[in-house]
């Protein structure tokens, strides 16, 4: 099992959800996923750390979230704590030097993370206080 990405851990938990990473790019993607009835099969990958984009998914039982920006103090961080949905924020790939910088990250940074993680079966490790890990299991 390989740690493929790391980021801020929003809260300490023994929960360690496992699922296929699904990148959600638009509100329509979110609505379609909920309507498909397969929400709980996926670890959701999103670009922003805000709450509204994922609102219905959080409310209806998302099992785990990875973001490419944001922190535990962001709205999504706060809500993932309240829902007890493990969440790794501002995740970066462990085999890449690219890091998110507010206002300075180009599209290539986000594309690299999305393309690498999309479709991968992973498990989130959120037991540590500061660092959340994304572990590839297949």
């Amino acid at each position: 099992m390989e740690v493929v990405a790391e980021g801020y851990n929003t809260f300490e938990t023994h929960k360690s959800p496992r699922g296929v990473v699904k990148y959600l790019d638009s509100p329509q993607d979110v609505i379609s996923l909920i309507q498909s009835g397969t929400l709980t099969e996926y670890i959701l990958l999103v670009r922003g750390g805000t709450t509204t984009f994922l609102a219905p998914a959080l409310s209806t039982g998302a099992i785990g979230v990875i973001t490419m920006s944001g922190a535990p103090e962001s709205h999504l961080g706060i809500l993932s704590r309240e829902f007890q949905t493990p969440c790794v924020m501002t995740a970066h790939l462990t085999n890449s030097d690219s890091r998110y910088e507010v206002g300075n990250s180009d599209e290539a940074h986000f594309d690299e993370i999305a393309k690498t993680l999309e479709g991968m079966t992973v498990q989130l490790d959120c037991a540590e206080s500061e660092v959340g890990k994304v572990i590839a299991i297949s």
Binding site: T50, T51, S74, H75, I78, E82
Partner: protein, 478 residues
């Protein structure tokens, strides 16, 4: 620290309230602001201490009622408040501000327009309100919150008057080079005096901000706390009842964020109130249906009240609590971070309208929360669909109204001046300057880079120059 090491740990959070304690660091970043060349400032209790040490006036210490009633601040006091608020904004928002694009709501765009709009328009509205109720009446607006739950006259709204309307508004306009540091001094005084009076009246301990009191917002009268404690139901960790309570809390909080366009105005925490058994009570207002927003029709259709108040009790010993902060934007953060498994009792209350008398606020049994949860989820999905179909422009102006109107709406409502503000001062109309900025701020990375850098580094809150006349407005556009 991992979750395993907190099991059975002793709570040390009370050490944070000892005078010599500097608190924990919740982040690694450092703040410089207007203190170039001096030691950088950190987050938390130590940051508050340093700001007070560097102040030229006593405005950051406990102030008297007479101080709050005084007509205006001196130039030193204005600059001390400017410096303190710039640090406080950084303290509560610098990490949140890393969240990037929403994918749904253009938040940076609407925030930038709104706080500049506030700086231009609020002084007249707040002066009119002060004229209507008097300076003591403004104190009373704050004081009324001591005996109420489900009220938006709360930490975040009161803080926003000064930190957002004055602080970020002035900072944004300076960054846009629309104003100079010596402009709008009298108007700045009007905004900051209103903020100080409301907060002074609410806290009644001489402080105005939670960060001055080691992040405590213990504003409620004991009789109200006693009434709430009488309604608490015990919660066994990991039990279905615990799950029902915490899931309701999270779902209502989510809708409160959504109804307020992904901003903190939907949420209001106070506390921590220590109970006789040593546990800590936090009171959380969740505003799930603001009738002034047209998109709240889905909340009204779902039969949701103006506000749910969630009372949650944490066992600090079981949690090994090291620090708890109720920050100035009404949000609770702890170390360790995860307090939810350590909630040992709870209660929920419903306030139908913003002005429903306290005697008519209804408790809801935890076993009955399921029906409310279903309606909250229904409203959340409908509002999400509604937002997803709105144009970018509509989303920006919708969010702008949430900031610009809602941040002072509760104070104007209590003063009885909201209708007058709408009718005689055209509150809901957009100032032409702001309408023009709509295009300006979206050029040259202003809204994505320039404004956030100025606001969150603290470098954009330029002081009022020495010798500036307190009567000064803006007279020249050159």
């Amino acid at each position: 620290m991992s979750i395993n090491t907190t099991d059975g740990a002793q709570a040390t959070y009370k050490q944070r309230y000892e005078p010599d304690d500097d608190g924990l660091r919740f982040q690694d970043l450092e703040f410089e602001g207007n203190f170039e060349g001096m030691e950088p400032i950190h987050d938390g209790i130590i940051g508050d201490k340093v700001l007070r040490q560097r102040a030229k006036s006593n405005v950051l210490e406990r102030v008297s009622k007479e101080d709050a009633l005084r007509a205006q601040f001196t130039l030193d006091e204005l600059n001390d408040l400017n410096n303190y608020l710039s640090w406080n904004v950084w303290d509560v928002l610098v990490m949140r501000a890393t969240e990037g694009v929403s994918g749904m709501i253009p938040r940076q765009e609407y925030e930038t327009l709104a706080f500049m709009h506030e700086f231009y328009r609020w002084p007249e509205l707040l002066r009119m309100t002060t004229d209507e109720v008097g300076a003591q009446g403004v104190l009373d607006i704050g004081a009324q919150s001591r005996s109420e739950i489900g009220t938006k006259v709360n930490c975040v709204h009161d803080w926003c008057i000064g930190a957002v309307g004055f602080g970020m508004g002035r900072c944004g306009l300076l960054a846009l080079e629309a104003i100079q540091p010596s402009d709008y001094v009298e108007e700045s005084n009007e905004i900051l005096k209103f903020m100080q009076r409301v907060l002074w009246g609410k806290r009644q301990d001489g402080y105005i901000l939670n960060s001055q009191d080691r992040y405590r917002a213990r504003i409620h009268d004991q009789s109200l706390i006693d009434d709430i404690v009488g309604q608490l139901e015990d919660l066994e960790p990991s039990s279905p009842k615990h799950e029902a309570f915490t899931h309701f809390n999270a779902s209502a909080e989510l809708l409160a964020f959504l109804d307020h366009f992904d901003c903190r105005l939907g949420l209001g925490d106070t506390g921590p109130y220590e109970l006789p058994n040593g546990n800590l009570l936090i009171l959380r207002d969740l505003f799930v249906n603001e009738e002034e927003f047209h998109w709240s029709d889905v909340c009204e259709d779902a039969g949701l009240p103006h506000c749910y108040t969630v009372a949650l009790v944490i066992d600090p010993q079981e949690m090994g609590l090291e620090e708890i902060r109720i920050n100035d934007i009404s949000t609770t953060f702890t170390r360790p971070k995860n307090y939810v498994p350590h909630i040992v009792a709870g209660a929920v209350f419903s306030r139908e309208k913003w002005n429903t008398p306290m005697g008519e606020v209804r408790p809801i049994k935890i076993d009955d929360l399921g029906d409310h949860l279903g309606r909250i989820q229904q409203a959340t999905l409908k509002m999400y669909r509604k937002f997803s179909r709105m144009s970018r422009r509509d989303l920006i102006w919708g969010g702008q109204y949430v900031y610009y109107v809602d941040m002072i709406l509760p104070h104007l409502r209590r003063a009885g001046t909201y209708e007058k503000a709408c009718r005689d001062y055209q509150l809901w109309e957009v100032d032409q300057r702001i309408a023009n900025y709509y295009y300006e701020i979206q050029k040259r990375g202003f809204v994505q880079e320039t404004a956030p850098n100025k606001i969150f580094s603290g470098k954009g809150y330029l002081p009022f120059p020495e010798g500036t006349d307190l009567r000064r407005s803006k007279y020249r556009w050159l």
